[in-house]
Every structure is written in structure tokens, then in C-alpha cells.
């Protein structure tokens, strides 16, 4: 964390090398964050790149370097929201492509066991997400997919810590009732261990 704070300090002064180190360090995390909200690889890549463009533009305005991570996720969350706004607009204008269809159609030559499990996992996670409210979904994913603590989640979403905990409790209650995903998790553990 000290390294990251040092990189952020240097990046704020315009050090390109430090900025690149920060991007390299966080790019997989941000890509995962975006991917599990958009569920489309190419779009997730574009949005992730856009997140880092915003980071480069705004890093000088970051006051507390220790809060870089929640600040970065805040930008990512806003970019994802912008993506869905644009998508809704394009859908309204009748020019949007069917993202889910494109992503779920796996090329027959590229069908591997991992691909099949990935598709199943993504589908189950989406089903669970559909049962959540907006805040429950966001908080659950931030907590268990993006490994964030409650304090950072409250900063990212601009909500009280107790509010975050209440939403998390409700989300856990729904997760507990989602047998299909829980079974897959237990099976998936074996698959990964093998």
C-alpha cells in the first residue's frame, strides 16, 4: 500500500512511469469490476481503458493519496453507469446490438471445459444479480467479487457504513436462498482444485 501511495504521489506530479505502474497494478481488478457488470468482454475492455483515461486526466485533483483505490472504483462505477445510459439511448433509437446474444454465443471451435463453466457461472451470477436491488447488487459484488471492505464500499457509493451493512445483509439473505449458485460454487471448487 505504501508503494501505491508513493506511485500516486509521483503520478500526481506528472510522472508517467508511476502512472503506468498504477495502471498495470489495477488493470485486472478494474477489468473484472467492469466485466461482471457489463458481461461483454470487448465493451469491458473499452470501458476499462476509458476509466484509466479519466484517471490520467483527474489524478491531480485527488487530495488524499491513501484513498486512491475507492476513488478509482468510483470512476469505474461512473463509467459503467455511463455505458448503460448510452446503451439505453441506443436501444431507444433502435441501433443497439444485442450484447448478451453476442457474448453467449460461443464459437464451436473454442468450446473448452473452462468456457462452459464460465458461461454457467456468469449465467447464475446474473440470475442472482437480477434478484437483488440496485444497491444490494452493487454492494454484494464489491464485497465478494472485488474484495472491498465496508468502509471502502461506503466511500465508493457515497453511503453510510450502516446502510451498506444493511444492504449487504439483505443480499446475503438472497444469496443463501439461491441454491443453484451455491451448488455450482461447491462443484466449481472441485473443478478448480482438479
Amino acid at each position: 500500500m505504501n508503494d501505491i501511495s508513493a506511485w500516486v504521489e509521483q503520478a500526481k506530479t506528472g510522472n508517467r512511469l508511476a502512472l503506468n505502474q498504477l495502471i498495470d497494478y489495477y488493470q485486472n481488478d478494474i477489468f473484472r469490476f467492469v466485466y461482471y457488470r457489463i458481461h461483454h468482454q470487448a465493451d469491458a475492455e473499452d470501458v476499462t481503458q476509458d476509466v484509466f483515461v479519466q484517471v490520467i486526466k483527474r489524478i491531480r485533483s485527488l487530495k488524499d493519496v491513501t484513498r486512491f483505490k475507492p476513488w478509482l472504483y468510483q470512476i469505474a462505477l461512473n463509467r459503467v453507469r455511463d455505458f448503460f445510459r448510452k446503451k439505453r439511448l441506443l436501444f431507444f433509437m433502435g441501433t443497439a446490438s444485442d450484447i448478451e446474444t453476442n457474448e453467449n454465443s460461443i464459437d464451436a471451435s473454442d468450446v473448452t471445459e473452462k468456457e462452459i463453466f464460465r458461461k454457467e457461472f456468469t449465467t447464475l451470477l446474473k440470475k442472482l444479480s437480477n434478484e437483488f436491488s440496485k444497491w444490494e447488487r452493487e454492494i454484494f459484488l464489491l464485497k465478494y467479487v472485488d474484495d472491498m471492505d465496508v468502509k471502502d464500499i461506503s466511500i465508493i457509493l457515497g453511503k453510510n457504513e450502516n446502510t451498506v451493512k444493511t444492504h449487504l445483509y439483505r443480499a446475503l439473505n438472497k444469496f443463501k436462498k439461491h441454491k443453484a449458485l451455491r451448488e455450482f460454487i461447491q462443484r466449481g471448487g472441485h473443478e478448480l482444485s482438479n
Binding site: Y36, V53, V145, N173, F175, K176
Partner: protein
């Protein structure tokens, strides 16, 4: 038996994952001692950790570098200069168009001067009313009464010559001057 009845319930079990301070001390103490409740808790924690691990595992690898492509400042400067030039040209075209549609005061003065010069040239070669006066002034004095202010084909004796007036027979031998005057008077009466 009493120990089993006081097992921690689902709600408190979930709250124990989120925030232990949110549950009562008795439940915390029970959780520390009860292996059944501990197993329930650890199973749920294990599932949630596994969910995170699977999410990491099934995240596809990006097909390209996610680091934004750096653009040099020179290129941006060039684009700014290019845009500024385009805007300046558009502004000039607009100004030119406005000036072309609405002539300036100088342009209006020039037009008036040209019209005045044309008028002067016309006056030099075609003097005003000169033509009428010269035409009729060449007539002998006895016919000067025929000169009128405005040239009228109907009022000239030539018309009477072409279209002769019927004169009564008793007036044929009368004096030519009297006869002419009479004809003139008759004609003027008709016209009036």
C-alpha cells in the same frame, strides 16, 4: 438440550459475517463455543470466498492492453491550431457574406455619383426641349400660330392635308386665310 435450543439463528449468523458488533454478546459467546454454529458460519464464509475465487478465475483475459494510448502534446496543439484556422475562415466567410448583401455607405455614394455622371453625359448630347423649338421656328412668320407647346400630330396642318375636311361649297371661294382659320377653329372645336 438447552444448549441446542440457543443455537444462533440465520439472521444473527449473517450479521456475524458482516459486523459482529451488530449482534448481542451472548450470541458472540455462543458462536465461540458452539462447533455447529461455527461450521455453519465457516461454510457460508467459504462459499462466499469461493464465489470471489471463481469470479477471478472465470474473468476472461483482456485481448489487448488496457493502458490508454498516449497522445503527444504536439498533435493536440496541431489539432487546436487547425480548428482555430477553420473557425477563422468560417468567420471571414460570414463577414464577407454580410458585407456583400448590405452595401456600405461608400458603395451607395459611388452608385449615386455614377448615376449623376450618366445624366450629365446625356444632357451634353441631348439638350432639353431644343428639338421642338428648332423644328417650329423654321416656319414662316404667318404660320407661327401653328406652333404649339407640345408636338401633337393631330393638331398639325399636315394631318388636315392627309385627311381633308369637307368644306361647304359657299366657302370654297373665300379667302384662303379665312378658310384656314375656320378649318382650324372647327378642328379645335371637335377636339375639345
Amino acid at each position: 438440550m438447552n444448549y441446542q435450543i440457543n443455537h444462533i439463528d440465520e439472521n444473527n449468523l449473517l450479521w456475524s459475517l458482516i459486523d459482529e458488533k451488530a449482534i448481542e454478546n451472548s450470541h458472540i459467546n455462543h458462536l465461540k463455543e458452539c462447533s455447529t454454529c461455527q461450521k455453519k458460519q465457516s461454510d457460508l464464509i467459504g462459499e462466499l470466498n469461493e464465489l470471489g475465487r471463481l469470479a477471478h478465475h472465470y474473468t476472461p483475459t483482456p485481448r489487448r492492453s488496457l493502458r490508454p494510448v498516449a497522445t503527444t502534446r504536439n498533435n493536440l496543439q496541431f489539432l487546436r491550431v487547425k480548428n482555430a484556422l477553420v473557425y477563422a475562415m468560417m468567420l471571414m466567410i460570414c463577414i464577407g457574406g454580410i458585407l456583400g448583401i448590405w452595401p456600405t455607405q461608400n458603395q451607395q455614394t459611388d452608385k449615386i455619383a455614377i448615376i449623376e455622371a450618366k445624366q450629365q453625359i446625356e444632357n451634353m448630347f441631348i439638350p432639353e426641349n431644343d428639338w421642338n423649338e428648332k423644328t417650329y421656328s423654321i416656319l414662316p412668320d404667318e404660320f407661327q400660330y401653328m406652333v404649339v407647346d407640345e408636338f401633337d400630330l393631330l393638331s398639325v396642318p399636315f394631318y388636315d392635308y392627309v385627311f381633308p375636311v369637307n368644306i361647304p361649297e359657299n366657302e370654297i371661294d373665300s379667302d384662303i386665310d379665312e378658310q384656314t382659320k375656320r378649318v382650324q377653329n372647327n378642328h379645335l372645336n371637335k377636339l375639345s
